[in-house]
């Protein structure tokens, strides 16, 4: 197991265009702090699920990794090379071959006037990777075949309108595969698709990981999808990572109130029994504007468990064992010793813990206080 990508204190701040009046009054330039200092390591061969509401900065993080957006500060280290300063088409050619992006909307990603073959072959031509037309065609057909569009020759010369949503997303995946990448950044690849087709694509992505030794950064707003596909889950809120750890740990024993709330509202097809609806923690409001990040813990205005310290001091990521970290004062080693553990405080988390068989013993703080 080796490290493939490391982000160090990554920040992306977008300047807010100020009006003439503000310029005259010499107001300081304001920024949207889309990504506000995250550290993240992706191991070779793993699937890291990056989960967050819209406006949490998860997509911006993905765009920085594929170098579509410039970071304000911080370092990006890919395969032991610092690529933070790498810019320009020529310099990025090799990097872009190794790191590919899958977009959310297969209806908009594909050019309606381009055949599937041309779409998949384009990156090869642009990067001048395979100059020979015959060889290029073989590569394209191979990629289509890997993406499950079989027989590939049937699909290669169709147009996007002739395909269903699931097939289109397979084409987009083929377009990423044809470059033979090492890291694939998938930005909400299944959220536009029906549930029944979702499974197929998740299945496909995991098969491809096995076949081609891919590593995924899987960006999604849906905790359940992340849980299905990811080895580790990172939960983002307003540009910061709130909690990160093994998928099981994050879902089964959330140490951050935000994660716990997300888990409690995660969609489930179980009909609600009397009482289960009450166990949900619905946070009021929406992710606040990243231009006005609250002081202290940025989650405190919506946090059901916030106390004095949360309003003034921002918690760092505390280790809670098993490679599981949470940025919450309640996860601080001392705080937990005092019995302020999250599952005890959050009734819904406690209720859920009870529902889970004892198969996943949680590090410390496990016992819900009666």
């Amino acid at each position: 197991m080796s490290e493939l990508l490391r982000l160090e204190d990554l920040q992306v701040h977008f300047p807010i265009r100020s009006g003439f009046a503000e310029m005259v009054r010499r107001k300081p330039q304001r920024f949207v702090r889309a990504v506000d200092g995250i550290d993240l390591v992706i191991q070779r061969g793993e699937v890291l699920g990056l989960v967050g509401e819209s406006g949490s900065g998860k997509t911006t993080t993905g765009r920085v990794i594929v170098k579509l957006t410039k970071q304000t500060a911080g370092r990006i280290v890919f395969d032991d090379d610092d690529v933070s300063g790498l810019w320009g088409q020529r310099a990025l050619r090799d990097y872009r071959r190794r790191v590919q992006l899958i977009f959310q909307d297969p209806y908009e990603t594909l050019n309606p006037k381009q055949t599937i073959h041309d779409f998949v072959a384009e990156p090869l031509m642009v990067n001048d990777l395979v100059p020979a037309a015959g060889e290029r065609e073989t590569r394209v057909l191979q990629a289509l075949d890997s993406a499950g569009l079989r027989p590939a020759t049937d699909f290669a010369f169709r147009y996007p309108h002739e395909l269903s949503g699931g097939q289109r997303q397979r084409v987009v995946i083929a377009g990423a595969l044809v470059m033979d990448p090492e890291l694939v950044v998938a930005d909400e690849p299944v959220s536009m698709l029906d549930v029944s087709i979702r499974t197929e694509l998740l299945h496909l992505m995991l098969d491809l990981r096995a076949e081609r030794h891919l590593t995924y950064l899987f960006i999604t707003h849906d905790l359940a999808v992340a849980w299905v596909i990811a080895d580790r889950i990172a939960v983002m809120y307003l540009g910061k990572i709130m909690e990160i750890g093994p998928a099981d740990g994050v879902i089964r024993s959330a140490h951050h109130p935000y994660t716990a709330a997300l888990v409690s509202v995660a969609p489930t097809p179980e009909p609600p029994d009397a009482g289960t609806r009450a166990s949900r923690t619905i946070l009021v409001g929406e992710t606040p504007d990243a231009a006005h990040v609250p002081p202290g813990c940025r989650f405190h205005p919506r946090c059901p468990l916030a106390f004095g310290r949360c309003r003034t001091e921002e918690p760092p990521l505390f280790d809670v064992g098993d490679g599981h970290q949470a940025a919450c004062w309640l996860a601080e080693p001392g705080a937990r010793a005092e019995g302020q553990s999250l599952p005890a405080a959050g009734a819904e988390a406690a209720a859920r813990e009870g529902a889970v068989p004892a198969a996943s013993p949680r590090p410390g703080s496990a016992a819900p206080t009666p």
Binding site: E53, V195, R198, T199, H203, D248, P267, P269, E286, A351
Partner: protein, 438 residues
Amino acid sequence: MSEPLEAGLASTPSLPSAPALPTRDAEVRGRRRWPLPKQADPNAPLLVVEDLKTYFSLESGTVRAVDGVSFTLRDGEALGIAGESGCGKTTTALSLIKLLPANARIVGGSVRLFGIELATRDEKGLRRYRWREISMVFQGAMNALNPVQRVGDQIAEPVVERLGLSRDEGMKRAVELLELVGIPGDRVRAYPHELSGGMRQRAMIAMALACYPAIVIGDEPTTALDVMVQAQILELLERLRHELGLSLILITHDLSVIAETCDRVLVMYAGKVAEEGAVATVFRNPRHPYTRKLLAAFPDIEADRRTLAVIPGSPPDLRTPPPGCRFHPRCEFAMELCRTEVPRETTFADGVRLACHLYPPGSDGSLPAALAGGASGGATPAAGPPQTDALSFRQLADEALAEGAPGHFAGADHGLAPQRPNEPSPPLTPDARPERER
């Protein structure tokens, strides 16, 4: 929300398709703001749809988008219509108030609201019912609002047009409605782009409520929203339903939304009803192979092991639907009969209505051996190679994690999953579903 209504619902969660008490119907109807339409039969059920057929004519043929759908909606009830895209669920809803595109036509069946036939009415004849009795929250709140008109004006428009109130009164009502759905009243003067996604969806709901309708149809009301906002919107719908005595029709491919908010569920496949019944009954004990697959394919963080089913193939082209049962090409239990004969809808003792040859009309509706066993056994030789691809990668991942190396299962180990097609997938048997905390 201490309505007697809610208490009644909560205390009878497992009643088989609880036939709503007439008293409840009367109670809900008693809260109406307006008298019933003149031609209404006061004793008729709220909405009865019978054998509805809506076809689209294209150059390349006729698309039978809705092909014989029947259901009943009672006062104060929430009905969820589920199915994959292209199964005709939106067309069914649009047919109720005939908001259909120009090339679509209702070719048969009836839609009766308070006993009044709507399917045969012309545009003018429908004015009394559109929005005043049946309103709609359209798909994609981002695009359904007019970007160059203030939200308040858009909400006031149906009030002014349909109820004949003055503009000032309309704006007053708009403020009231915004506050009802949880938006500060002073936002009436906001433009849609000044509102967040969740607030726009709330504004759409406010608009649907403008004329105190009896039925609100929500077409994928939460699909484009974040999970937390989705939970907020569902909670809002639930509250409004009880406070205002609304009846809801929720159209969604997301079964969790239906589990969360609806009393009954109607699963559609290729323009027909596959299964219909009380949510608790159908979701705990799904019978139709399609319903079972849909439920098994749903990623659920409450399930203990990640075993997701795949529904092989894609929905049929409705210009040339397959003969017999329309689901048979994708059904692992398809028999010879399924290929030739269209299954008839049968209602079983617990109120579940089904169209599947595995449950013939005379049977008691219990699980056939083939399904109970999970995998396609010898009972269905016609099924050919088993098409289930039980997806147990989570399990594999967990095993690999237990061995201490997350990178380890990236290689050969994971390749095991596709080689285990015969593994019975736990979600298929109801008892294997994880127990939930009471």
